[in-house]
Amino acid sequence: MIGEKTIANIGGGAVSIAQHVGGIVVLTGQVLRALIPPRIDGRELVKNLHKMGNRSVPIVALTALFAGGLMMLQSGPFVKKLGATGLAGWAAGYAVLREIGPILIALMFSGRVGANNTAELSTMTVTEQLDGLRALAIDPVKFLVVPRVIAMMVMLVALTVIGDLVALVGATVVGSALLEIDASTMYHSFADNLKPYDFLHGISKSVAFGAAIAMSSCYFGVTVRGGAVGVGRAVNAAVVAAAVSIMLLDFFITYLAG
């Protein structure tokens, strides 16, 4: 039988989740309001675009290269067995563009950029830097959160585009090196079977994932309490929230968009 304590824990957990979701919605509203009129600190935006995007290219490219290769390794032997090598590129490309590319890159981005963003913002919060900004009549949401949200959303899309291309290269390399499917067959398989919609489907996911990572990492950063321990907890919560959001969004976007 479920005890009172268990029920209280479940209820407490549900209330806590509702509070966080509500907090993220409120922060999202503040971000949107801060964009009207769109006056963004250019220096902060450029700094964040560089830090979050450019510096993530190597790790994203590496991940995508192996993800593409892996898709080829999984699907290649079957299409060869069925004598349908012309579909090998399609099988790998379809999975990469619509699913594996956006989701893997988003999770990598969340771990690298989202966690770093939460750590930075929460450290600024516990050292009263946000209060310092407010004391100087500067809105921390406008000055710190908005450029980070824009940078994360823009850069996750850009990284997904790069990642998709690298993953297709990875699939081609593995196909020709390990499965004896030559590069031109792979190229024609991609070109003939993959549609622009497959690519756009993945990109639409990365826009949603970028928003989820940005909002959760900023929310847990600016609402942190309790010094260094609080910073650790905030980073942990932000990464978990982003991962759960990515999975949920992926399911619903796939379900609704087909």
Partner: protein
């Protein structure tokens, strides 16, 4: 006399912990008021209330002639540009250099050229003894240096009201005296009103006109700074002289279940 700060009947609590209870306080225009009290007696919270960074649960706060309770952040912008604040933990922006930190209020306020800002920042950094540290990041500074950067930032815009939360914490006695001399000279030059919180009562008493004693969330004494060591209140005398024996109770803060706070003297 016009009051720069007028706090009336302010209450503030965090959860069950009562931080301020029915606090009323005034700082006249061009006057310097010192605020002392044991640790966790609500001094920093009071400073933040004046700047609108915290909102009271009850009571009114008027700053530079404007009521600030219940106002939205955006409505407090113009008022905050007229206030300079030194935070207890510096609150320096770690993504900016020393020079950029000090220049920040002037850049955000606008109305000055880059050259004018550079000259003003250099003058402030010289005044606090940090010439040559312009390009350092705040992470490279000692606690005392950070405090001096905070003072330079709080005073760079010649605000009408300046709030100093522990301006001498982390500074050696000679630097403390230099800093207080600088703050006094600045105040005379600008005519600003000052609210200063400090644990260094001796140095503070030389700087301010009056001192108020905040104890367990209440102002229990206010009197001339020059005679603070001989105040009528045994509580204040014990605190200022650092005596172990006396009515001062440095125990944990009151909670909502403890009933109204009364000073030990009023209990007798």
């Amino acid at each position: 006399m016009t009051a720069t700060i007028r706090i009336v009947g302010v209450h503030k609590r965090y959860g069950a912990r009562r931080v301020l209870e029915d606090v009323s306080l005034e700082v006249g225009q061009g006057k310097r008021l010192g605020l002392i009290g044991p640790a966790a007696s609500g001094k920093s919270v009071l400073c933040k209330l004046v700047c609108g960074l915290e909102a009271p649960d009850r009571g009114t706060v008027e700053v530079l002639g404007q009521p600030i309770v219940g106002k939205r952040e955006v409505e407090l912008g113009d008022l905050r540009r007229r206030i300079g604040m030194l935070f207890q933990n510096y609150a320096l922006f770690d993504f900016l250099t020393v020079e950029q930190n000090v220049a920040f209020p002037l850049e955000q306020r606008g109305g000055m050229t880059a050259e004018e800002i550079a000259v003003r920042v250099a003058e402030r950094l010289r005044a606090v003894g940090l010439a040559g540290s312009e390009h350092k990041l705040t992470g490279e500074l000692s606690g005392g240096m950070k405090k001096r950067v905070g003072i330079a930032r709080a005073t760079v815009a010649d605000a009408e009201l300046v709030i100093y939360d522990e301006p001498s914490a982390g500074l050696d006695p000679v630097t403390t005296q230099k800093i207080y001399d600088l703050l006094a000279a600045d105040q005379v030059r600008t005519g600003a009103s000052v609210l200063a919180v400090s644990s260094d009562v001796v140095a503070l008493a030389k700087f301010v006109d009056e001192i108020a004693f905040l104890y367990r969330g209440q102002i229990v004494y206010r009197g001339p700074a020059a005679t603070i060591a001989d105040a009528e209140s045994a509580l204040v005398r014990q605190f200022v002289r650092g005596e172990l024996e006396g009515p001062l109770d440095q125990g944990p803060a009151k909670t909502a279940d403890d009933g109204p706070t009364r000073s030990p003297e009023s209990r007798r």
